[in-house]
């Protein structure tokens, strides 16, 4: 099929400005598609890390805002397949000035010993681990957070509570590296429990559970939920990944939103590319007549036009994927803070290939009508055509 490629390439650089504008237009649109695809992949097809595959989250069946009794921890620990468990409470609170988004990061109250076991992939020196377990007011923070806020070991962090009516005075005793826990601070739950009233102390937001093997996920989920089904605080136990997805779907129908935008963008590219090819064919009707006189068949003409469209849209696609790679960098920095799944979003090889394939298909489909018209023009008519 690519016999006429050299000719098609020559044709495409004949009206340089038009080709450049078309390539620009396609590149921008495909860049957008690339970013949206990457976003979709980041949110809904996130790779499960080996550590994450073993972790589960127990929450109140109705919503995250409702609490479960502290006593659940001991009962869940007895369930076969559960290796370790710790309550995992979202402290929220205010660090310095809340209005500066830089100061936004997750703060969780956990039981240090269990926490260190549950985060199997966490990279933190042994002495820092020990300090976290032994010191009541210790906290550990993720490496990216430490770099962003310029915090070093031994620094103090004060967080004023809002959900919890207390103020935390924490000492940074560890800085860890964990791909599944970016932009996060963990502190000792005993410190928080000491400050709370007896009624408030025993209310837990979520429990993090580590199971022995990936095969335990479903049985543990069923067993835990069945255990509390008829209590005033029924639970919902799901894998860490599903739990993250609940968050995304809570914000709104994101899938539908991304899908409609992708459809609108694709349709727009089809129009742009089709329009350009129609213009370029119209300019060259006379030439088509000459080519046909020289012995080119209708199929030959058809494939010359299609190949030209393919060349232009592929170049647009390559530029677009490049732009998308640059754009994801900034999306990662802004959205990643709030939506951890997007923190390591990138244009993967498959997303890039899908974009290029889409560019090719759009180029071919959109140029088919003009190409077909050119191919079936009668020699005499086309030679007589004056534009």
């Amino acid at each position: 099929m690519f016999r006429y490629l050299p000719l098609a390439m020559k044709n495409s650089i004949r009206n340089r400005r038009r080709s450049l504008l078309t390539i620009g237009s396609m590149a921008v649109s495909l860049c957008l598609l690339g970013v949206l695809f990457a976003m979709y992949a980041g949110l809904f097809m996130h790779d499960v890390t080996p550590g994450s595959a073993l972790r589960m989250v127990v929450r109140h069946k109705v919503s995250l805002a409702q609490t479960m009794p502290y006593a659940y921890e001991a009962r869940i620990r007895q369930v076969p397949g559960v290796r370790e468990i710790s309550s995992w409470n979202w402290f929220q609170g205010v660090y310095k000035d809340q209005r500066d988004p830089k100061n936004f990061f997750a703060r969780f109250a956990v039981e240090p010993r269990a926490f260190l076991t549950i985060r199997t992939q966490m990279d933190m020196p042994q002495d820092q681990r020990k300090a976290f377990v032994n010191e009541r007011t210790a906290c550990v923070i993720s490496k990216d957070l430490a770099e962003r806020l310029g915090i070093k070991l031994g620094d103090k962090i004060t967080i004023i509570g809002d959900i919890y009516p207390v103020t935390l005075e924490l000492n940074v005793r560890g800085i860890f590296d964990d791909p599944d826990a970016l932009n996060t601070l963990f502190f000792n739950r005993e410190y928080l429990r000491d400050m709370l009233s007896p009624g408030r102390r025993d209310q837990e937001g979520t429990f993090a559970v580590l199971v022995a093997s990936p095969n335990d996920v479903t049985p543990v989920s069923n067993a835990v939920d069945a255990m509390f089904d008829n209590s005033p605080q029924p639970t919902k136990t799901e894998s860490e990944q599903q739990f993250a997805l609940t968050f995304v779907s809570f914000v709104g129908n994101i899938k539908m939103f991304l899908f409609s935008i992708c459809a609108a963008v694709t349709f727009t590219i089809l129009l742009v590319s089709g329009n350009t090819m129609a213009m370029s064919v119209r300019e060259r009707i006379k030439e088509v007549g000459v080519l046909k006189t020289l012995g080119y068949t209708s199929e030959g003409i058809l494939s010359i036009v299609l190949e030209e469209a393919a060349v232009i849209s592929l170049i647009g696609g390559v530029v677009g994927v490049g732009l998308a790679e640059l754009l994801t960098l900034s999306v990662r920095k802004t959205f990643g803070l709030y939506q951890p799944q997007l923190a390591d979003m990138s244009i993967s090889l498959s997303v890039g290939l899908i974009c290029l394939a889409l560019a090719l298909v759009i180029g071919l489909v959109s140029s088919f009508v003009p190409a077909w018209n050119a191919a079936r023009t009668n020699i005499l008519d086309s030679l007589r055509y004056t534009g």
Partner: protein, 387 residues
């Protein structure tokens, strides 16, 4: 002398395929922008309609949401007696003690359940909100009866008049459907405060107090008096500012949408530029003729520029037409302040459509400037010689 606009309109009509394709591309861009603006306008309307400027909402100190706030009955007795609170015809102060919690409802769209706000209140609270009944009657004090908002009734098959919902310690009968105008009451479920607080084991840990001030001058006085009261540890704020802070729920989708619209706009401007360049080169002869007839370079520039703006405006109008049916759509967005879903309508208002048209005109202007300049710079003789 200016070239008549009818010349441009005729030109657009003659090349109708190109015109329609370019305009449709612009229309898609405008439609995406309008959809995002309509979404945030709808969300804003829902929240603004919920905030009566005379209403003061009292929360626990540091509690920034009704859900995490705790107000005791004793505090309420003190609050109720404050001067500056309007009185009902029977002499009772317009003050309502309320308890807010969440229940989970399932629908076809959300098989895992979506959380909906359940509000324990009194007839005073209902009267202050000026709610109307669409069907059935209000709940009776001391009964396990609830009234659902109209969006709840239309979105969840389980929440129909006469049916029963299970939460707290048992079943509750739906005795009415209420209409809160545009307010968030449409997305909530109301019941008797005493019945609900005892069902959730919170007889003395209620969430908030809603007060109505006698007039707007009394509002700030009431707020500062309560803040300074040593007997109370509360954070009073106007109901309007409480709901305004929740409009941020739509921020991620809004941000993403505007980002998409701007990128699409760049692509569409390139496409418009392409079309206009083609128009200029095809009409070289015409441009020469116009110059011979005595039209100045300036009027040629203006004419082609206008044509591009017209082309884009046509796209803008098409975009508005594509976006208009959105007015019929009701959607829901979850927010992390109330941890529940707020249902609202997309609102494509005249102001939004005007913004869309303006956006398309800017797009056309950006795309038309360079081609128009090229047209104006053409030498008469070369222009006439070009075919």
């Amino acid at each position: 002398m200016a070239i008549p606009v009818s010349y441009n309109i005729r030109n657009l009509v003659v090349r109708k395929t190109t015109t329609v394709m370019t305009a449709l591309g612009i229309a898609m861009t405008v439609a995406v922008l309008l959809a995002v603006l309509a979404l945030s306008a709808g969300l804003r309307t829902a929240f603004e309609a919920s905030g009566n400027p005379l209403h003061v909402l009292v929360l626990r100190k540091g509690g920034n949401a009704e859900l995490s706030s705790v107000v005791s009955r004793q505090s309420f007795q003190i609050i109720k007696a404050y001067p500056g609170i309007a009185k009902a015809p029977d002499g009772q102060p317009l003050a309502s003690l309320e308890m807010v919690t969440l229940v989970s409802l399932t629908s076809a769209e959300k098989p895992n359940g979506m959380t909906v706000t359940l509000r324990g209140t009194s007839m005073t609270g209902i009267g202050m909100r000026k709610l109307k009944l669409l069907a059935g009657r209000w709940f009776s004090a001391g009964q396990r009866e609830i009234v659902v908002g109209k969006s709840v009734a239309s979105r969840y098959p389980a929440a129909q008049l006469g049916k029963q919902l299970k939460f707290g310690k048992g079943y509750w009968t739906i005795v009415g459907v209420m209409d809160g105008g545009q307010s968030t009451a449409n997305s909530e479920i109301f019941g008797d405060i005493n019945q609900i607080s005892s069902d959730f084991n919170r007889p003395d840990a209620l969430s908030s107090a809603l007060l109505e001030a006698t007039d707007e001058v009394a509002v700030p006085a009431l707020i500062s008096a309560m803040k300074d009261d040593r007997q109370l540890t509360v954070d009073p704020l106007t109901e309007r500012s409480y709901y305004e802070s929740q409009t941020s729920a739509g921020a991620p989708i809004e941000f993403l949408g505007i980002f998409v619209a701007i990128i699409m706009a760049v692509g569409s401007a390139f496409a418009a530029m392409n079309t206009m360049y083609a128009a200029v080169s095809r009409r070289a002869g015409e441009i020469g003729t116009l110059r011979v007839l005595g039209f100045s370079k300036g009027s040629i520039l203006v004419s082609f520029f206008l044509e591009s703006v017209l082309l884009a405006l046509l796209g803008g109008v098409l975009g508005c037409l594509i976006a208009l049916p959105l007015n019929l759509i009701t959607t829901g967005i979850g927010n992390f302040i109330t941890f529940s879903e707020v249902a609202f309508n997309f609102r494509v208002t005249p102001a939004i459509m005007l913004a869309g048209l303006l956006f398309s005109a800017v797009l056309g202007a950006a795309g038309g400037l360079f081609p128009a300049r090229q047209a104006a710079k053409k030498e008469i003789l070369t222009a006439l010689r070009e075919v």
